[in-house]
């Protein structure tokens, strides 16, 4: 019963769960939920056995495209995405970083042209044995995933 109160049931839409509490609002802005007209329920600082305090976002009547949800991997790689239809989970969507990241991230290099002129950013995602990095398409700087700045 208590669980019901915390996370009201969703009939159709998308649930993004297990977002670290301090990343919740970054996810909100990244998916442009601040300007979205759909019914949205946001819970934060909920107890989670797995990650301490977590956030959850439910967006009614909207199924995000995969390249949209994949952006979440940039800031909350362990978030869980469930697509709901008629109160049932019809898709558990695994998160994987897209090959290219446009606009949402900012280049860490202060001397990068994208930090000085109105140019939208563009990173290639590089995966090798040493881990995952972003490479700025313009200044060619490599950025570790944990050091990526979200706009």
């Amino acid at each position: 019963m208590e669980k019901e109160l915390k996370v009201a049931a969703l009939r159709n839409g998308t649930v993004i769960d297990h977002i670290p509490a301090d990343k919740l609002y970054q996810v909100v802005f990244m998916l442009h939920l601040d300007t979205c007209d759909n019914q949205i329920t946001i819970g934060n600082n909920l107890e989670s056995a797995k990650i301490g305090k977590k956030g959850i976002i439910k967006i009614a009547g909207k199924v995000f495209a995969e390249d949209e949800t994949n952006k979440i991997a940039l800031i909350a790689p362990n978030a869980k995405i469930n697509i709901i239809k008629d109160y049932q989970v019809i898709e558990k969507r695994p998160l994987s970083l897209p090959d290219e990241i446009h606009e949402i991230a900012q280049c860490n290099n202060p001397n990068c042209i994208t930090n000085h002129q109105n140019i939208s950013t563009f990173f290639n995602v590089i995966k090798d044995e040493t881990g995952t990095m972003l490479k700025c398409h313009y200044c060619e700087r490599l950025i570790k995933l944990e050091e990526v700045k979200i706009k």
Binding site: I113, Q117, Y138, E140
Partner: protein
């Protein structure tokens, strides 16, 4: 059109690099031509670099082309405060190709995306300077007769030195063995160490110049700049350790040649200049032929 731009050395594969080096040898044999007759090349130097600009402009003039542009955006009222986008679009109405140098990294890649005419990157901040890399390769080829299986010692600032990073990438096609010689604070960055490992390029790292150059075919020296150091005492120590003196060349191989992208500060003592192993002034001269080859390639003439 803009895919003919040269922004980064990695824009060229091995065949294209060899094609440029071949063409440069032709230009060296016969540098004065009229293949660019009627063409206008813009040289846009958003930060000054007289050496590079004169080399590119001479390359154009010796091929019969004309040059427009500016040598320092700070004094050029026409571009003060104008966005890079607007400057490139404006200039591309007049010129058949644009040579540009810019203080910010990535500026040339961006310009290549918006420009209807080819862009040649003459340096974007600390990032890329492909004509320098190609002239380094040309100098190595000319002095050694081959690019294959050479022992290359690279000394100085391996952390910030972009010429070093591009050299490593470009030489990776030719089975080199590297020895990286740098003080602790200017060691080769992780990124390029991983690049060598992934491409099976053998390398060693050391902190002393001394005897470590005796088995080298090429000694590539770079500038050690004071502003890279927190501690000035440390800078003074490093500066002394990394000064190449003529006496240090006594036991080196006869085919050794010393390269340096110039200008030098104090890393090569003047008494080295008269040694036949000193090649840095001829290296700079080679830049002219390489730039003639690059301009001809991007314009398909």
């Amino acid at each position: 059109m803009s895919n003919r731009s040269l922004v980064s050395i990695s824009d060229y594969n091995k065949e294209e690099i060899l094609e440029i080096l071949d063409a440069a040898a032709d230009f060296e044999a016969n540098p004065n031509r009229s293949t660019l007759k009627g063409k206008v090349i813009a040289t846009l130097f958003f930060e000054p670099s007289t050496r590079t600009r004169l080399s590119f402009e001479t390359a154009v003039l010796r091929l019969g082309g004309s040059v427009i542009g500016f040598s320092d955006a700070a004094t050029s009222s026409s571009v003060k405060g104008e966005t890079l986008n607007d400057t490139i679009r404006m200039v591309s109405c007049y010129a058949d190709a644009i040579v540009m140098r810019h203080p910010f990294e990535g500026a040339a890649r961006y310009a290549a995306e918006i420009s209807p005419v080819p862009i040649i990157n003459a340096g974007d901040g600390a990032n890329q300077h492909p004509s320098q890399t190609l002239l380094d390769l040309y100098s190595i080829l000319k002095t050694q007769g081959t690019l294959e299986n050479l022992k290359i010692c690279v000394a100085g600032d391996l952390k910030y030195g972009r010429t070093v990073h591009s050299l490593i990438m470009a030489m990776s096609y030719f089975h080199p063995t590297f020895r990286f010689i740098a003080p602790e604070e200017l060691k080769l960055n992780e990124e390029y160490r991983i690049f060598c490992l992934m491409n099976n390029i053998p390398f060693e790292e050391t902190t002393e110049l001394n005897d470590n150059i005796n088995d080298a075919d090429i000694l590539y020296m770079t500038r050690v700049q004071r502003e890279r150091f927190q501690d000035l005492m440390e800078y003074e120590r490093v500066k002394n350790v990394y000064t190449l003196k003529n006496s240090m060349l006594e036991n080196t191989k006869p085919n050794l040649r010393i390269l340096h992208p110039l200008p030098r500060v104090s890393e090569i003592a003047p008494d080295v200049d008269k040694n036949e192993k000193a090649y840095y002034f001829q290296q700079a001269q080679n830049g002219l032929y390489i730039r003639q080859a690059i301009i001809s390639k991007v314009l398909s003439v």
